[in-house]
């Protein structure tokens, strides 16, 4: 509790950054947050928050399936989220599918996760319960240097792909018919974006856990959209707010060890959203 709140904040910061687990958290976390902000902007714009939420259930089931099979958890995580993301996109999952069908399907998927959990705990050691909690709620302070570096590289690659398709994706999201007439491959971009969303859910699950992914994905992006209606500024702002929540959340959790980092990160992202909504609603109503 004292390290950051010491009389000399520079010393406190230096001592925090000298901890390898903090450095790993910041390396992996920054890249994951930037990716989440960017992807989150399009999720909110395209009205696919529900699809993203559903993918976090899939992330849990996928990770637990991999654990039960005795392979690296991330294989199951990414295979499940990317695969289901693609599937949703190919089935035309732009929020058009029946809510009841989606809800039922994903409750079933979460049920599968519980089954894999039972198989896994029956066969494994006492650490298994911890692994389960980590998948659900994240463990950014427990991430290894190798895992942090891998997560950062994957995030960098996904950001590059997303920036490459950003303009046509924006066009296709706002005005799909005209975009298609102008030669934008709308039918390709939909599934591609959901696959990227799936991979992002897989990434963010490692940082804040499958259950809290949406705090990092939707809250900063929704806050950014409340603050500006200029899409490119909003994209930049969403990234900045997500990264800010990540850094401040890591610092706060380090300073106050009683607070889990997933709570501080997602809590700060939600606070950003609440602040942006208040600012828009009370202080600066939309320009007319």
């Amino acid at each position: 509790m004292t390290a950051l709140l010491a009389a000399d904040p520079v010393t406190g910061l230096a001592s925090m950054l000298s901890q390898p687990f903090v450095r790993n958290a910041l390396v992996g976390g920054t890249a994951i947050a930037a990716l989440s902000g960017l992807v989150g902007y399009f999720v909110v714009l395209r009205g696919q928050v529900f699809a993203g939420d559903a993918l976090s259930h899939v992330a849990y089931a996928g990770a637990l399936a991999a654990l039960a099979a005795g392979i690296d958890l991330r294989f199951g995580l990414f295979a499940a989220t990317i695969g289901v993301g693609l599937l949703l996109g190919l089935l035309g999952g732009r929020g058009t599918a029946d809510d009841v069908v989606i809800g039922t399907t994903f409750a079933w998927v979460l049920g599968l996760g519980v089954l894999f959990l039972a198989l896994y705990t029956a066969s494994g050691s006492t650490d298994n319960g911890v692994a389960n909690v980590n998948v659900l709620f994240g463990s950014i302070f427990g991430i290894s240097t190798a895992a942090a570096t891998t997560a950062a590289w994957i995030a960098a690659g996904l950001i590059a792909v997303l920036l490459l398709i950003a303009r046509p994706l924006l066009f296709a999201s706002v005005d799909p018919t005209v975009a298609a007439a102008r030669g934008v491959p709308v039918r390709l971009l939909g599934p591609l974006f959901l696959a990227i969303l799936g991979a992002t859910v897989g990434e963010a699950s490692q940082a804040v856990g499958a259950l809290l992914v949406f705090g990092l994905l939707a809250a900063p992006a929704a806050a950014a959209q409340r603050l500006t209606a200029d899409p490119w500024r909003a994209l930049g702002l969403a990234v900045a707010l997500a990264v800010l929540a990540m850094w401040a959340g890591v610092a706060l959790a380090y300073a106050a060890p009683a607070l889990p980092p997933s709570f501080t990160i997602v809590g700060l992202a939600a606070a950003e959203f609440a602040a942006a909504t208040l600012y828009r609603g009370l202080l600066r109503p939309l320009p007319t």
Binding site: R167, L170, A229, P231, T288
Partner: protein, 279 residues
């Protein structure tokens, strides 16, 4: 391109359909439709509901295959020159929650199909400045300066429609394809948007193909109308086509064209009786 006067434009037709038949789901939507649109002409596509007016536009854009006949658009196959066509699809209004400004929607018509990102402000360089200038130009042309920087979801139907017409015009198209642009507008806005399309058509030499549910707001401006029926189509000047005799022959049933005291045309007895009651 658009600066050319109609008589200085290329002599060839902007659009030519010969004996076109479109099928969808095993059903014939329309058959044997022929039409010609010359540069700078204002042409309305009319007909009852379900006769395939929107389908005709999609075929012109190359978004739908045709079963028979031939379509040439700007001297090539449909879909080849879509960047020289401004398209306004039939639509409901934007979701009120859409947090994108009108200027951004207009800008998408300029370079929204290009890969990568648009750098904001000065970072965009000369191309960015050029794009912004052109965006301001078309926004001024449609008279939308007052609300172009507000989120488009919060604008009225008429305001949204003007911005979308600006989007369709931004690349200086040779052909404007408008699908029911007057639908869901009040009478004042119908007149204003009709006059705007007429201005663009006349002063910039852009050919216009406009699907209308009610011909009256655009009637004074039209060079030609095409009346669609399942079995074919009639094309010609409005005073020759919108008559009891012509339409009765086209639809094979008694159709009456009445004119009220203000000169408005009312078509009674078309095969789809719901057409006149649609909201």
């Amino acid at each position: 391109m658009s600066e050319q006067l109609p008589d200085a434009g290329p002599p060839a037709e902007v659009l030519e359909l010969a004996g076109v038949t479109v099928r969808a789901g095993g059903r014939v939507i329309f058959s044997d439709v022929s039409l010609r649109v010359r540069p700078g002409e204002f042409v309305a596509v009319l007909g009852p509901n379900g006769v395939g007016k929107s389908t005709l536009l999609k075929a012109v854009l190359g978004l739908l295959p045709i079963a028979d006949g031939r379509i040439r658009v700007l001297g090539a196959e449909p879909g080849r020159h879509n960047s020289r066509i401004g398209y306004l699809p039939q639509r409901r209004a934007f979701d009120p929650a859409t947090r994108i400004r009108g200027v951004d929607v207009v800008r998408m018509g300029w370079d929204g199909d290009r890969w990568g990102v648009a750098l904001p402000g000065r970072l965009g360089g000369r191309a960015g400045r050029q794009a912004r200038d052109r965006v301001h130009e078309v926004i001024a042309l449609v008279g939308a300066e007052g609300y172009a920087t507000r989120p488009i979801g919060q604008l009225s139907g008429g305001e949204q429609q003007r911005l979308l017409i600006a989007q369709a015009l931004i690349r200086r198209p040779d052909l404007l394809v408008l699908d029911e642009p007057l639908d869901s507008l009040d009478v004042t806005n119908q007149a204003a948007v009709s006059a705007l399309v007429q201005t663009v058509c006349r002063s910039h030499g852009v050919a216009v193909l406009l699907v209308a549910h009610d011909v009256n707001p655009i009637l004074p401006y039209l060079d030609q109308v095409i009346y669609l029926a399942h079995g074919g189509a009639v094309m010609g000047p409005p005073e020759q086509v919108i008559t009891s005799d012509t339409l009765s022959m086209l639809y094979g049933t008694a159709v009456d064209v009445l004119r009220d005291r203000t000169g408005r045309l009312v078509v009674v007895g078309q095969p789809d009786s719901h057409a006149e009651h649609r909201s």
